[in-house]
Point group: C2
Chain length 273, copies 2
């Protein structure tokens, strides 16, 4: 069994994958360069599962994940929420920090700390925090802002942290080709639907959720990319597909929308579980 | 008059800024390293205007922009929509392409082309497409995927393009400290509001827009970061604040929500204008 994830090793997707699949499946994990590659590995049966960031990620574009969920034939079978914590790390022996490498979004999340403590340091923007850790280990920069995990992987010394602003979370989805949905304690169901671009069309669909007392935990509109002025809505609902309110509501939504896709019904792994 | 934008020079934010402010204001443009820096420059009166990506950007996190719109005292006075087109560019004299640099999201958007034509090439992920162009010019990689503009800035030869998938757009906002809203042909109004996390609370607010026949062009929920379970909604409405339906609806929304903020009322510059 192969599990594709958005690499490199030590990335937050890697941590999420380990969180769900456990240490014993560590050898099954296969790093992919891009979110596209993860989806393709699963679609083309090169991997049974994929792990991708979906919201507030610091590793890549969430819109890429949403686009693939729309167009590919995979299902969401688990959500993993990780607390994102950044640490300032250096090689052994470094005494003065003149250059710091990290992902632009990590710099953004540690903005206050950097401004207060390292206003003069040169910030080198790279494509991932784990790559920043690797650069630091190889002597290309004095320090890196990365996860605790990446610092350990690269034998870096942790100088300070967590140095990011407030509580910051990243959501990951575990995707697979077969819709074997498993219920847990806290469940969600994700769908995509389209309506025409006229006043009140979204409102009409939301009336259905309201009628069945369903709580939405997320709603996001995106251009459908098919016809101009047509939108798709990504909606997450509290509840599992085997519950009557959920399944009845989805049937009506499907009938009243111009496009409908069930992305999955899954339980959620919270950071402190 | 200073205009802060998300740099470096040649970035899509730079193009957006030039698009709105015109060639004659080119010398007023000041590159910032991060979206945070753009907002701070405007807030602290170092710049009169700021230009930041807000949706589907390839240059940085859109959530950073949304977070700052929520917490900072600036207004949106213009929206600029750019068609994002990526080109494969090389230095003069390069005959074989073994390494290609670009932003991860640009790689993602050119995935099919790269897979078909450069399956063996090594992809080097960097923090921006304009930085990739610079790396290529300096001989660090054989090719870069970047904008036409960045290729010109770095004297690169365009080999192919646009090589990205389908029509791809990025939205930018022009921000400033004073709410001097100017009406144009196609207008939008952006607000943020909060409701409590209970079934039907969003539905109730959308009923107000429905009542006043207002069309939403975007809706996105985000955790409020204040109380757990509280959400903020970013909503864009067609229409200008001086229209009766818009102003009346906003008054009711403000009264019925737990938090309300008018982000701005502005006209839109489309790609082909």
């Amino acid at each position: 069994m192969k599990i594709a994830y958005l690499g490199p090793i030590g990335s937050y997707s890697y941590e999420a994958a380990k969180r769900f699949f456990g240490k014993e499946k560590e050898n099954n994990l296969t790093a992919c360069d891009t979110i596209d590659d993860v989806f393709e590995a699963v679609e083309e049966n090169e991997a049974e599962f994929g792990v991708v960031p979906v919201e507030n990620s610091i590793e890549g574009s969430v819109s890429t994940t949403l686009d693939y969920l729309l167009k590919s034939q995979v299902y969401i079978v688990k959500e993993i929420i990780l607390r994102v914590e950044h640490y300032l790390c250096v090689r052994e022996g470094i005494e003065q920090i003149l250059t710091v490498a990290s992902h632009p979004q990590a710099f953004s999340q540690c903005h206050d700390y950097l401004r207060k403590n390292f206003k003069q340091a040169k910030l080198i923007q790279v494509s991932s925090t784990s790559y920043a850790a690797k650069m630091c280990a190889e002597g290309e920069v004095d320090a890196a802002i990365c996860s605790l995990f990446a610092s350990q992987q690269n034998n870096l010394k942790v100088l300070a942290g967590p140095i990011n602003h407030d509580n910051n979370y990243t959501r990951f989805f575990v995707i697979t080709k077969s819709p074997n949905f498993e219920k847990g304690n806290k469940n969600k169901t994700s769908i995509i639907f389209s309506t025409y671009d006229k006043p009140g069309s979204l409102y009409k669909i939301l009336a259905i959720f309201n009628l069945y007392d369903l709580n939405l935990t997320k709603i996001e509109s995106r251009p459908a990319k098919t016809n101009l002025g047509e939108y798709v809505f990504f909606v997450d609902i509290e509840g599992f597909v085997d519950e009557e309110d959920v399944s009845d509501a989805l049937k009506v939504v499907q009938r009243k929308s111009t496009f409908f896709k069930l992305l999955g019904s899954y339980s959620v792994i919270l950071p402190d579980e």
